[in-house]
Amino acid sequence: MRYRVRHTTRYHYPQDVIQCHSLTHLLPRSTHHQRCLDAIIDVQPQPAQGNHRTDYFGNHSFHFTVQHPHQVLEVTALSTVEVEDLRPSMSLDFGITCAQVRNAMISNRDLPTIEAREYMLNSPLVGLSSELADYAGPSFDDNRPLLSAVRELVDRIYQDFTYDPKFSSVSTPVSEVFAHRRGVCQDFAHLSIGCLRSLGFPARYVSGYLETLPPPGASKLVGADASHAWFAVYSPEEGWYDFDPTNNKLAAEQHITTAWGRDYADVTPMKGTVFGGGKHHRVEVEVDVERLDTQAQFQIG
């Protein structure tokens, strides 16, 4: 499936920003089942410097500096991505067991496993904790295939937690999300990662987009989509598997991956520093995920 993704972020400041330096993770990376066909990023006002590169995690990052005084900064990322069908309904009762994974993580000497050990540790926004281990533990029977156990964990999180965009912000810690049983996709991804790491399994954070389909008969609203987040777990035999706890499914054809890292802090879509700008600014975000195969139907003006 081919998608065209447009992601616009607009900052409104009450006073002039004299200078803005920013680092973005807005353009999709290529993965085993995804190819980024083209990608451009547009910044208004025109930046004095702008550099694309691949970061430590292999993500596409873009660093820019705006020196022109401005009260509105608009960043638009446009990309075309081809995503392979991953047979999302596939059963997950296969692969090595939880106990085998734990052993292999210590004893295996292959590069992917050694590198995956980075994702078993505390990270800036996700700490290991016994309460998360206690919560997730019952699904992870030693003799059960890891992927099957993770599938169950995702299902439980979906059942036990309420999706509530009003509850959390970027800085809400996992412990609070866990205590109140509510949050948004980013929180559920962090929570799942915390559960897995607390049990000794490697898990990473994935940010990207999810195609949403309009109700039958209705046409899709422009800018109605959103950026999304989920997680991936590593099994030394099976490799990385992506799960979407917010929607209780495997992340598959409708999931477009932008970037991955240990948690949100590694892949923040836009971060940076400004000089000036005054106290209270406003941010607007618009995302459109458009299927190119059905271009006639969902053409965006």
Binding site: T9, Y11, I18, Q19, C20, H21, S22, L23, A48, Q49, N51, R53, D55, Y56, F57, H63, T65, Q67, R109, L111, I114, E115, R117, E118, L121, N122, P165, S168, S169, V170, S171, V184, C185, Q186, S207, A226, S227, H228, A229, Y264, D266, T268, P269, M270, K271, G272, T273, V274, F275, G276, G277, H281, V283, V285
Partner: protein, 850 residues
């Protein structure tokens, strides 16, 4: 001479160490080691009295140089740097061995650093566990793949070493973030060579200057841009514990000392915000921890860094040493794997041994540490004020258990070392030698295809022999370290260095001062003058209050109100409550000593000292000395006036006035007429003009009886030191118009308003003009207008008033206008020359992903 006998006859140089450890000076049988004999004989010859005297001299020099070490956990955070007069001696044969071990270790850490931020072979090949790297906060992932030009990534490296019982040196810690102490080592050496000139000369001590030459050359070679490089030292600021050293090294090496806000990233380069605009910076020697250097990509709330810096580094348009991310090498867990790492990279084990080290991330090590904690030194893998080493020996059983729990909760964060009693060496205390634990920090700088090792380094001695802990923060004392050459060395010094051709560096010039520096100099001038005016008036008020003749009743509240007006310590006496006037002492005392009260003498002087601390590197040694005196006198003043005003309070204020005068005299006589000087002078003149006007408006504008007017005029003249000239000139006839002429219009009176405005205009003429500037700049226009108003006025007209008026309207209007213009001019100077960008703030965070 039989040595033991000699030692016995001089019992004060002998001592008994309580620990079964190596002693630096004495052999087990009490004989003095060969390389110590000359020093000990010379010191014995000097005798305890002379040694005490030399020690005092050393302390005085250190104080005069402003050598301090700040520890903000202490009540008195700024401490003089402590140096013991007995150096640590190392003979050249042993040093050669240590030196080659250090060279190899520096090379090894350089290879580790390269590997960690590039291929990570050590991790891939299982030489080090991945967690050692991945769990450490010093591993800065955004620095992946960044390389400095040249063969070395690790530019400066330091190792802390102690001597084990068998006499061999062992490394206990590695320093790679931005090793501190080279400046203190240099200062120790400077002091020692002045305090013991002949002893130093005859001991043939290896010199330190080559190390700094090599550092300078290496930094200049790192320059990624064409042209002669401009090099800066990036400091976190005057609150940093080793700030003295930052300023000292900046001066010694000829680099500018800057803080994060002095630099900016524009057009893909790093620039210094200088007085005359932006100047490109090519190389940064940093004393700010890596993680704090760029809030865009690293620690987002850092105010110490330069937003966008990392991207400029990545693009190869600025070089920074040590590179960001080098702090990872300070993880003590690396020491545990060093033999394997050395075999992997070099094919052999390191020559210089480390103290046996364990890492709790390894399960066997963890078990060992838990079982033997009482004998080990527990070291958090990340350094910080909350992460100090813990000595198992000093812990109670419950404390040991607490630490075991902490280890079990987070094993990756703890390393441990075997406790080895350091060797003992003597310090000079209570008229004799006393044994103390010794630790030596030695330094390496990348140079050519290898490293240059500083001969010796910084020796520190423990507070007492029984405490195992030695660190600057815990009250240890430092020593010079003498590596004894077999023959005298050829003298090299940075000032006449032969290597100058290879180390071409943009020279310092006063236009290149960061805006922050000129702003602080401006304020040093203003605050100094403000404090002086306040002190002078207070002195006059005390004299009048305690005078033989009682003051006319009407003048009494006016004088007191003038104190409030001048110092702006409102409401003060302006409130006019009778109780305050019947007992003015507490309020007057507060105006002098209450440092929490804006406008008080203590507050103003503290503000001045803070501004001076920010610009230490541009103040001369003499100025530094006067600043120190002011600090001391401020302390003394508080003590003297603590129990109320002394019988002659004006005398208590005299020393401060004298010192402030010395400061302004020194500014006139020995400060280079660069832009720093112009700004300090402008600050001073602006303030003095403002204060003179305030004084005249408080005391001479109101219309009072002739008798009262005489008293007030006398007080004003007394407080601006013009009374004697007045009497001489006008035959003692007290007349307000004459007084105004002398105070306001007299061109040759250096305290007249005319003189201040004249000088201000002259300084302003020297300012660099802004690009595209048409006509006079705003700050000059305001002063021209002020000066014209003054010159067009006439003392007789100004003195005149209507018969029933309470005020001299003409005088008040003119002065009020001039005061206003002075304020406008000061703002215009600030707008034009000072930096207003303010601190960086984070770009709004997204509300997160849904």
């Amino acid at each position: 001479m039989e040595v033991p006998e000699f030692a016995n006859s001089q019992s004060w140089i002998a001592y008994q160490d309580s620990q079964p450890a190596h002693d630096e000076v004495y052999l087990a049988d009490g004989q003095i080691r060969e390389h110590w004999k000359y020093l000990l004989e010379s010191l014995a010859f000097l005798g305890p009295e002379a040694l005490n005297e030399r020690e005092r001299k050393a302390r005085r020099i250190l104080r005069d140089d402003g050598a301090t070490y700040n520890d903000y956990r202490q009540e008195q955070p700024t401490r003089s740097w402590q140096m013991d007069p007995i150096p640590l001696l190392i003979d050249s044969e042993e040093w050669a061995e240590i030196e080659s071990g250090l060279l190899e270790r520096a090379e090894l850490f350089n290879l580790i650093l390269k590997d960690i931020y590039n291929e990570r072979q050590l991790v891939r090949h299982g030489i080090i566990p991945p967690e050692l790297l991945f769990s450490h906060s010093g591993f800065l992932r955004p620095c992946q793949g960044i390389t400095l030009p040249g063969e070395h990534q690790l530019i400066q490296y330091a190792a802390d070493m102690i001597r084990a019982a068998d006499g061999s040196m062992r490394v206990v810690a590695d320093r790679s973030q931005s090793p501190s102490g080279t400046g203190y080592a240099l200062e120790n050496r400077t002091v020692m060579s002045r305090v013991f000139p002949s002893l130093f000369r005859d001991s043939h001590v290896h010199r330190l200057s080559l190390y700094f030459q090599r550092l300078r050359a290496k930094l200049s070679q790192l320059c990624p841009n064409s042209d002669i490089p401009r090099i800066v030292i990036l400091t976190p600021g005057s609150y940093n514990e080793t700030y003295f050293e930052h300023a000292y090294l900046a001066n010694y090496l000829g680099f500018s000392l800057v803080q994060g806000n002095d630099l900016t990233v524009r057009d893909g380069y790093v620039w210094m915000k200088a007085l005359d605009g932006l100047r490109r910076v090519d190389v940064i020697l940093r004393r700010v921890d890596g993680n704090y250097c760029d809030p865009v990509e690293l620690k987002g709330d850092s105010q110490l860094g330069i937003p966008g810096l990392l991207e400029v580094i990545r693009c190869g348009r600025v070089a920074i040493a040590n590179p960001l991310g080098s702090g990872i090498l300070e993880n003590p867990a690396l020491i545990r794997y060093l033999p394997e790492i050395a075999r992997f990279f070099l094919g052999r084990e390191p020559r210089l041994a480390s103290v046996p080290t364990y890492w709790c991330g390894d399960s066997a090590d963890r078990d060992f540490v838990l079982a033997n904690l009482h004998n080990l030194v527990l070291k958090p893998t990340t350094r910080g004020s909350l992460n100090q080493s813990v000595y198992g020996l000093e812990l109670s059983p419950t404390e040991l258990d607490d630490w075991r729990q902490k280890i079990l909760r987070n094993p990756l964060r703890f390393a441990a070392q075997e406790f080895i009693y350091p060797s003992s060496l003597p310090v000079w205390e209570n008229n004799r030698f006393q044994p103390r634990s010794a630790i030596l920090r030695s330094y390496a700088v990348a140079s050519g295809s290898s490293y240059t090792i500083m001969p010796g380094g910084l020796t520190r001695a423990g507070k007492s022999r029984s405490t195992a802990l030695i660190s600057n923060q815990l009250g240890s004392i430092s020593k010079d370290t003498w590596v004894l050459a077999s023959e005298p060395e050829k003298q090299v010094s940075l000032l006449h260095g032969e290597q100058e051709t290879t180390a071409r560096v943009q020279p310092w010039d006063s236009l290149g001062l960061p805006s922050r520096v000129v702003e602080n100099l401006f304020w040093v001038g203003r605050y100094a003058e403000r404090a002086e005016s306040a002190l002078r008036l207070l002195r006059t008020v005390f004299v009048e209050l305690n005078g033989i003749e009682p003051l006319p009743p009407a003048t009494y509240p006016m004088l007191l109100r003038a104190v409030t007006h001048l110092t702006t310590t409102y409401p003060g006496f302006v409130r006019g409550d009778d109780g305050l006037f019947s007992n003015p002492e507490p309020e007057l005392l507060a105006v002098v000593t209450d440092q929490m009260r804006p406008g008080s003498v203590a507050y103003t002087l503290n503000a001045m000292l803070t501004a001076a601390d920010e610009v230490t590197e541009v103040l001369s040694a003499d100025t530094q000395r006067i600043i120190n005196d002011l600090r001391d006198e401020l302390e003394t003043l508080k003590n003297n006036l603590q129990t109320g005003l002394a019988s002659a309070p004006e005398e208590a204020l005299d020393p401060l006035v004298t010192t402030l005068l010395a400061l302004s005299g020194l500014t006139q006589e020995s400060m280079m007429r660069g832009f720093g000087w112009h700004f300090m002078e402008m600050g001073r003149r602006l303030e003095r003009a403002w204060q003179t006007i305030s004084l005249v408006r408080s005391l001479l504008v109101p219309v009072v009886s002739d008798r009262d007017e005489e008293v007030l005029l006398e007080s004003v003249l007394l407080s601006v030191e013009a009374l004697i000239s007045y009497r001489r000139r006008y035959n003692g006839q007290m007349d307000i118009a004459n007084g105004l002429e002398l105070l306001l219009h007299e061109p040759v009176n250096p305290r007249s308003l005319y003189y201040q405005l004249d000088r201000l205009a002259a300084h302003m003429n020297q300012m660099p003009s802004a690009s595209g500037q048409r006509g006079l700049p705003a700050y000059s226009r305001f002063i021209l207008e002020a000066s014209t108003s003054l010159k067009l006025s006439n003392p007789l007209e100004l003195a005149r008033h209507d018969a029933d008026a309470h005020l001299r309207k003409n005088l008040d209007q003119m002065l009020s206008r001039v005061q206003h213009l002075l304020g406008d001019s000061a703002s215009a100077i600030a707008d034009r020359f000072f930096d207003h960008t303010g601190g960086p703030q984070p770009l709004a965070l997204l509300s997160g992903e849904l």
